[in-house]
Amino acid sequence: MSDVSTLGLRQSRLFTASEILGYLVLAVVIFIVIPSALDAFRLNLFGKYLTYAFVAIGLVLCWGVGGILSLGQGVFFGLGGYCMAMFLKLEASTPENTAIQSTPGIPDFMDWNQLTELPWWWVPFNSFAVTVFAIVAVPMVLAFVIGLAMFTRRVSGVYFAIITQAIAAIATILIIGQQGFTGGVNGITDLRTLMGWDIRPDNAKTILYFVSGILLFAVLFVAHVIRKSKAGRLMIAIRDREDRVRFSGYNVANFKIFVFCVGAAFAAIGGAMFTLQVGFISPTLVGIVPSIYMVIFCAVGGRSSLIGAVYGALLVNWAQTTFSESFPELWLLAMGALFIAVVMAFPMGLAGLYDDYLKRHVDRVLAPVDRMMIHRAARRESEKLSATRATQPAE
């Protein structure tokens, strides 16, 4: 039995020194380096890339940590985006702005499709509070239903991936087919203001970039807490030995449903920010292709690294923009080669490169800091822990 001071060492720490450093560097990159290095246009692009980072973080939890590969994250991203777009569209469709329509006051695409009143399920989106709630809740409910159906039936691995892909296909066809309610293939476009605040000018985009950044850190924090909790360790256990976890008394399906729902919520937040940044949402964000790209962001970043996911999303998108601007006719070759290279040569992505080449040095430098943190935490925890001890120390 260990004595009181080493007891504290056993307490799991929420942050290690190198993790704190990682988040600090990311914060510097997102809040200082990128905004100061780029003009308003490029910054807005990075704002768009950041919204994909939300999805990638969710995928790290689902796939890297939990072993659930979803090829349908675009559905959740899109749902979040559509919820936000519905609110903005209603705000933009005042009777004055739409006076030219046969039925003024409803979104333009409804009017084109002979709708004469707002469908009942659009009505709640007049309220911003309801919209914010729906952005997170609607995708989570869908994820819950899918998860409940699939995970309690033990659909896993490749099968789960392919079924989610089919769901993405269904969602796209539905959105396109029901264009009177959804705007069809065009999506919901021409969004102007958020509660009276014009989202289109450059300074609004800059503000939205920082809002995305702050939200991203909030999401990162939540993901980090989950990752570091016992539930996080259980997800890794489930990924590696699902059976063993069952025979340790856990209902594995519940944990999978949970993490799938969290991933869906993250994706939806990203989607909502996407709508604000870009000014519209469309079914091209929902289907199979964007969903696969989202997985690739995660893979390039290093599938089980939260910070890596953010860099992965930024890097792949930046590469795509750069390649396609420089070689508009051939950029696909470069992207294809990038994906193959990542899978073949760097399966652990950017995070793996970091682990292989940089981590050693960083850890050496940080070692004294880490020791100090451990001891300080240990002292604090030891007092608390010894109080919760069942038996007195043997000595």
Binding site: G187, F280, P328, E329
Partner: protein
């Protein structure tokens, strides 16, 4: 406004000689042989460009924004080629206000957010003076707010559903009524069609077009619609709908199928024993240009009728020149469809508008645009309407086995564009 007396609103198109000299000699041709060329020195940059566009003393930069990757690249390639041809010809004539046109091409990648991203890049980063671009309605809707916010100027080439009139867009293709109504009138009158079966790919253009078609058939012609159906974009199995058509026995199949589905639809129609040359039922489409026939195969669509404003086979001097120039630049086996021709008009209309305005400033170009006429358009005389669409004729062509259309009907007068048609809502 610095309007010069010698700047006419009617602009000569490509001079025959310039075209024959070919691309390599273009620059020289411009300065030596083109009589009407304007000299940049007469239009100081500070005067013609007061808003910081990418206009220098000897060049003006415009953007080309189409999908060159992804599913839409099938359709948009022709537009890119036509725009590049027009730019080259204009440069050969001395450019716009004596300035050579340079272009920056971006790839919309068949993805609407990418279109928005690239349009912003062109307007904000590159400060292009105008943009030739977009094909699908969705991509246009995606870039529209960007153009309105940054006051850009877009020439949009595709026939589309209408219901739009942006101060920042010139629509060089037809809006829906221009394409639909005359064709339906013709088929009812000349072919005695009583019953129609409407069919389309599932998105806004076919749906809106069919809505207008249905209203026209039922309310204005007093005929009957037997069925209306939509299939997802990219759908490749049409046997079921072909069976339905066979049972309903309509006089006319009105088809607005697009993209890869098109090929599948016509091949399966042919294979199912529906011989379009027999015209029972007769097939009328507004979505198959010569470009699409290349994929479908002329023998598979022979006998179908298409309602367009332009066919490659149009027999007029402008068109003969245009077709030969296009083939010289892009290859003998090229075909030219309606949208390709409309895309070709973009740079020419822009040149005309700038020279009428005597300025590259978007506001002035916009103001100058209505009323611009092109006598040199391959489709014949066109004119820009107050509502930013073109006055143009509607024509009906009959598909031949060689992949060309034989023009069987054309409206006597230009059809007025009416993007918000009364009675069709």
């Amino acid at each position: 406004m610095t309007k010069r007396p010698d700047t006419e609103t009617v602009v000569t198109g490509p001079s025959r000689r310039g075209v024959l000299m070919g691309a390599t000699a273009a620059a020289m041709t411009a300065s030596l042989f083109t009589p009407k060329s304007l000299r940049a020195a007469d239009f100081p940059t500070a005067e013609v460009n007061t808003t910081g566009l990418a206009v220098t003393d000897d060049a003006v930069t415009i953007g080309i924004l189409h999908s060159i990757t992804g599913t839409m690249s099938i359709s948009e390639t022709g537009s890119v080629q036509a725009e590049k041809l027009a730019i080259e010809q204009i440069n050969a004539q001395g450019g716009i206000l004596g300035r050579k046109i340079e272009y920056i091409q971006e790839d919309g990648a068949s993805d609407w957010p990418t279109f928005a991203e690239k349009s912003r890049k062109l307007l904000v980063n590159d400060k292009v003076a105008s943009v030739m671009g977009c094909w699908t309605s969705a991509s246009r809707k995606a870039v529209l707010p960007v153009f309105e916010q940054h006051n850009g100027f877009l020439y949009y080439p595709t026939f589309y559903e209408g219901l739009e009139q942006s101060p920042n867009v010139i629509y060089t293709g037809q809006e829906a009524t221009q394409q639909i109504i005359a064709g339906l009138d013709w088929v009812a009158k000349e072919k005695g069609a009583e019953t129609f079966y409407l069919l389309g790919s599932d998105y806004i253009w076919p749906r809106t077009s069919n809505k207008i078609a249905r209203k026209h058939i039922e309310n204005f012609l007093g005929k009957k619609v037997l069925g209306e159906e939509y299939y997802p974009l990219g759908h490749t199995q049409f046997n079921s709908v072909i069976n339905k058509i066979r049972l309903r026995k309509p006089d006319v199949i009105y088809a607005i199928v697009v993209g890869g589905s098109n090929v599948a639809f016509y091949k399966q129609l042919k294979a199912a024993g529906i011989d379009m040359t027999e015209e029972s039922p007769l097939l009328l489409t507004i979505s198959v240009t010569e470009d699409e026939i290349r994929g479908i195969g002329g023998e598979n669509i022979e006998g179908a009728y298409a309602c367009m404003k332009y066919f490659q086979s149009l027999d007029n001097e402008n068109n003969v020149e245009f077709v030969s120039a296009f083939k010289e630049m892009w290859g003998e086996d090229m075909v030219i469809g309606d949208v390709t021709q409309a895309a070709y008009l973009g740079p020419w209309l822009y040149k005309a508008a700038v020279e009428k305005a005597g300025s590259f400033d978007v506001d002035k170009v916009r103001e100058a645009s209505p009323g611009i006429e092109l006598t040199t358009a391959p489709e014949g005389y066109v004119k820009v309407h107050e509502n930013h669409h073109l006055w143009s004729k509607t024509r009906v062509g009959r598909a031949q086995a060689d992949g060309q259309y034989e023009v069987v009907f054309e409206t006597a007068d230009l059809v007025e564009p009416d993007p918000f048609p009364e009675g069709y809502q």
